[in-house]
């Protein structure tokens, strides 16, 4: 037990007096940026894909688009995130002769990846909205797109909010692999603190606690948001 307390003291010494906190803050920042930006990009991509996939398939163009979307979704759901990161960073970028920072690479891949997952969530959400809502909109002369955007999707989003919260939590957790392409996240921060003394027990414990705290905060935020939305439903 004494030994553990000694390790804790040493960890806080590095963290507070030797600048370790800077690395942790940077890691925390990157982790959150990647997860949040990934989620936002994912929401845009996911909503677009979901809209295509629920569209009536009269036109050939829609059918082609639909095929492409289902290929995209299959590709990103069928391979691990790490593989996607590595392929994007070590295969795509050199082939396209592009340069991108590690964080930007991570954001892009997280966005593309969560787009695939969110499209499926969103599709379920859209299908759960009463078709009468679309008919109501179309009957007063609103276009398909406007009705979708203003009437159907807002109701779909309300239905899928808990699932979206889980998707965000999953993204936050998965950021722990971005160090594979050199992005400085929480994992790299604590790893670097630990490697200074070859003492990893306390740093990784601290890392675990931080992840738990983040997830708890997100869960709480989602609960608050849901309660608010439900209030608007009752209409006071």
């Amino acid at each position: 037990m004494n030994g553990f307390m000694f390790k804790v003291e040493k960890f806080f010494d590095i963290l507070l007096n030797k600048g370790g906190y800077k690395e942790v803050l940077e890691g925390l920042q990157n982790t959150m940026i990647i997860a949040v930006a990934g989620l936002l990009i994912g929401i845009v991509i996911g909503t677009l894909i979901a809209t295509v996939r629920v569209m009536p398939k009269y036109k050939a163009a829609v059918r082609v688009l639909d095929k492409f979307c289902s290929f995209y979704v299959g590709l990103f759901r069928g391979t691990p995130m790490v593989v996607q990161l590595l392929v994007f960073y070590y295969v795509m970028l050199p082939l396209l002769e592009l340069k991108m920072s590690s964080v930007l690479v991570a954001i892009t891949v997280f966005g593309l990846n969560s787009g695939a997952y969110i499209s499926e969530i969103m599709r379920g959400g859209i299908l759960s909205v009463d078709p009468g809502q679309m008919e109501g909109g179309r009957s007063v002369g609103l276009s398909y797109g406007t009705t979708m955007l203003k009437i159907v999707i807002p109701q779909a989003v309300k239905n899928i909010l808990p699932t979206m919260g889980n998707e965000f939590i999953a993204l936050v957790k998965e950021t722990s692999v971005v160090s594979f392409v050199g992005a400085k996240d929480l994992y790299l921060a604590f790893q670097s603190i630990g490697s200074g003394t070859y003492e990893f027990m306390v740093p990784y414990l601290a890392m675990a606690i931080i992840y738990i705290i983040i997830v708890c905060i997100i869960t709480l935020l989602i609960k608050i948001m849901e309660r608010r939305l439900r209030k608007s439903d009752r209409g006071r």
Partner: protein
């Protein structure tokens, strides 16, 4: 007003409408009755192309709206529809429900005007710029004023900021009716507007519909309310198996039906 020529509609192999030809004139109140599954809803939904006709034409506003190349949204603004299950927008308040389409249309017009003026100024288009006077705020306040007026008419102005989920069925249906009125339609299509209501609420909705009828609105109504048909209809149409097999004035129709199938149907519903 609406001219239907040889309208056919199939769902897969199931031909639901087998060639319907009829004309609905301005100010007419056409009541469509017939047994379940005879294609009444499908007929009504083909009129505003909620279901795309398989063949035939529907002439409205000088165009064949059955043609998929026609911008159907513009025509639907002039052809209101009231559904059995109301289909109010659940995520919008009552007044937003009513304002939505008018605001959307006016905003779109404003945008087109501005774009055309810009093109003219850039010499990409001939003509003189039309001065744009309306603003989005004005459009909204005008629409709100009109919506409030309509709500007053049905005595629901205090529900303006409530959500549909807090209304009774009868209130929902009356709001749905004035939502379509807000676009100043030339005709309103009603698909069993009272079938999903508790009996004590049927009256208030029929009352509002009679009101509209008296003011000269052109109406096409699918209903099982024979009292309404007798009182309001200028013409009753009997449909069976995808055809209009009898068409006459309500007096004639209810006292002296011509076909056996019609007599049979009436004997079942008029007990």
């Amino acid at each position: 007003m609406i001219e239907v020529v040889n309208l056919r509609k199939s769902f897969g192999d199931n031909e639901v409408l087998k060639g319907i030809t009829t004309t609905i004139k301005k100010g007419e109140k056409v009541v469509v009755i017939g047994p379940s599954g005879s294609g009444k809803s499908t007929f009504l939904r083909c009129l505003n192309c909620m279901e795309d006709p398989t063949s035939g034409s529907i002439i409205f506003g000088g165009e064949d709206i059955a043609n998929p190349k026609v911008d159907i949204n513009i025509h639907r603004q002039k052809m209101g529809m009231v559904f059995q299950h109301f289909n109010l927008f659940n995520n919008k308040t009552v007044i937003e429900n009513i304002m939505m389409a008018p605001v959307y249309v006016a905003k779109k017009k404003l945008k087109m005007q501005k774009r055309s003026n810009l093109l003219i100024r850039l010499h990409l288009k001939k003509g003189t710029p039309v001065p744009v006077t309306a603003t989005v705020a004005q459009i909204k306040s005008q629409a709100r004023e009109k919506a409030t007026e309509l709500l007053k008419r049905i005595g629901l102005e205090e529900k303006a900021d409530a959500y549909p989920s807090s209304l009774s069925g009868g209130q929902k249906q009356r709001v749905a009716i004035i939502r379509s009125l807000a676009m100043d339609p030339d005709v309103i299509l009603f698909d069993e507007p009272t079938s999903a209501l508790d009996p004590e609420m049927v009256g208030e909705v029929l009352e509002l519909m009679k009101d509209l009828a008296e003011q000269g609105m052109t109406m096409v109504v699918v209903t099982h309310e024979m009292g309404f048909a007798k009182e309001v209809a200028t013409r009753v149409v009997f449909m069976d198996e995808g055809r209009m097999i009898e068409e006459s004035s309500p007096d004639e129709f209810f006292t002296n039906p011509k076909t056996e199938r019609c007599k049979d149907f009436l004997s079942k519903v008029l007990v």
